[in-house]
């Protein structure tokens, strides 16, 4: 498998906690989104770049596995890993790490597809611009 990755630190918002005193489970999808945006900036494939090429990439599947909790005030790091695949899909894996407790808080995965901005149809093969982008990256073999 070929992979590209990045990591970001997240400041947990008070509004993201719930009455159990921990980050509400659904807010991890926001942290995943933060991770994807940071990945996009680092590697030059931001949403708006993709949009300019005539595509948007809606999420068709997302998955979160919770391992431990995050309390307000704890430091969090999200590791985002893009997997290279033949299919016209963007597949990210995530690891949410609680830097304060030194524990994995969650792992996750999202799958995105390419849709044409004009007619909102699914692209069955990878857009050319994306393949060019893929070929320029320095993928890590794992």
């Amino acid at each position: 498998m070929k992979e590209l990755e990045t990591s970001i630190n997240i400041d947990v918002r008070f509004s993201e906690t719930d009455a159990m005193g921990v980050v509400w489970h659904g807010n991890y999808l926001k942290y995943f989104e933060d991770g994807r945006e940071s990945f996009g900036i680092k590697y030059g494939v931001e949403y708006l770049d993709i949009y300019k090429e005539g595509y948007f990439t809606p999420i068709v599947k997302s998955e979160i596995n919770h391992k431990s909790t995050i309390n307000y005030g704890e430091k969090v790091q999200v590791r985002v890993i893009l997997e290279k695949h033949y299919a016209a899909k963007i597949i990210f894996r995530y690891e949410v790490f609680n830097l304060t407790t030194n524990k994995i808080a969650a792992t996750g995965k999202t799958i995105q597809i390419f849709m044409n901005v004009i007619d909102r149809t699914l692209e069955l093969i990878k857009p050319k611009f994306y393949e060019i982008w893929e070929n320029k990256q320095n993928w890590k073999e794992v």
Copy 2:
């Protein structure tokens, strides 16, 4: 002052609470929004109705005054009152009532303006369709 009003019951979501065990203060703006939508349905001025007339009505001011807290599991009612004004503004007041504790949880206010969908410019006088709508309503003098 001439007024129109409606009330709705809100089910507090677990995700709306925070680590203090109460509804996070910013989520009251969602309850206000629920109230406005309910008002729109009752009186035939939903966002989409207004949009079809060529306008959208962004919020230019919002205000929340918190009086007591809402815990998860408590029953909440939002009272929404539209004030009639000469200006081309939509001014709503809100009362969030905690039915479980029998206390006012919050009061609030929002001001919306009319903007033209096409050129995104501010309407300085009330759109005709809105004046017609106003004239059909059975306003309560208070």
Copy 3:
């Protein structure tokens, strides 16, 4: 497989849409939560009931599969199905149905575990109160 189910209608909030004009993908977890709460009320197993028995039931896994989009103003129904299992887990499946377009918007799944309120340890066998509750239900064989 034995199952219990309920359905609820959801009013999509404007604040739940995103810049693509559709419900932001992560907000489906809020709809799932709405569904679980409605299920809890219908069958007498609300969060607070469970809490009074000395347990809370954190989500350890959640999964959403998106099939089509939901626009603001569209009517949505969530079907929530509890699966009966031997393990000390609460496993729900979800179907989010767009009543306006007559299409499945998403399917999903969550897994919850039982944790002891006092010492925050995982319960490896089903709590007695829950087994009693299970035995009283009129499960549908599917």
Copy 4:
């Protein structure tokens, strides 16, 4: 008036936009919260510091005035200004600046009070620890 201030940059999340393509108005309260937390870190008065002193500081009033919109992908800066007052209140003002359009997006204000953690009663005079903290700061006269 004596003031202390700080500024932070905000990355607008896709999930914070709405179907109008701009940041949903209620999300500004999250940006204000981000600003307060940053202020707390800079000046040594984080929520958890205050909590350890036996107080929490719920928001009793919040206000947002919208001047222009923020689109996804635009850079945002929040300026947070603490006003010094005799009353036992924490009064912050906010300016949300859209760095991309070079326009003020919003201004705002929040008022917090001191509540005793133990008995959840309102403190009518400033807690001693807070007065000590105030006296150590290098306030700017404006």
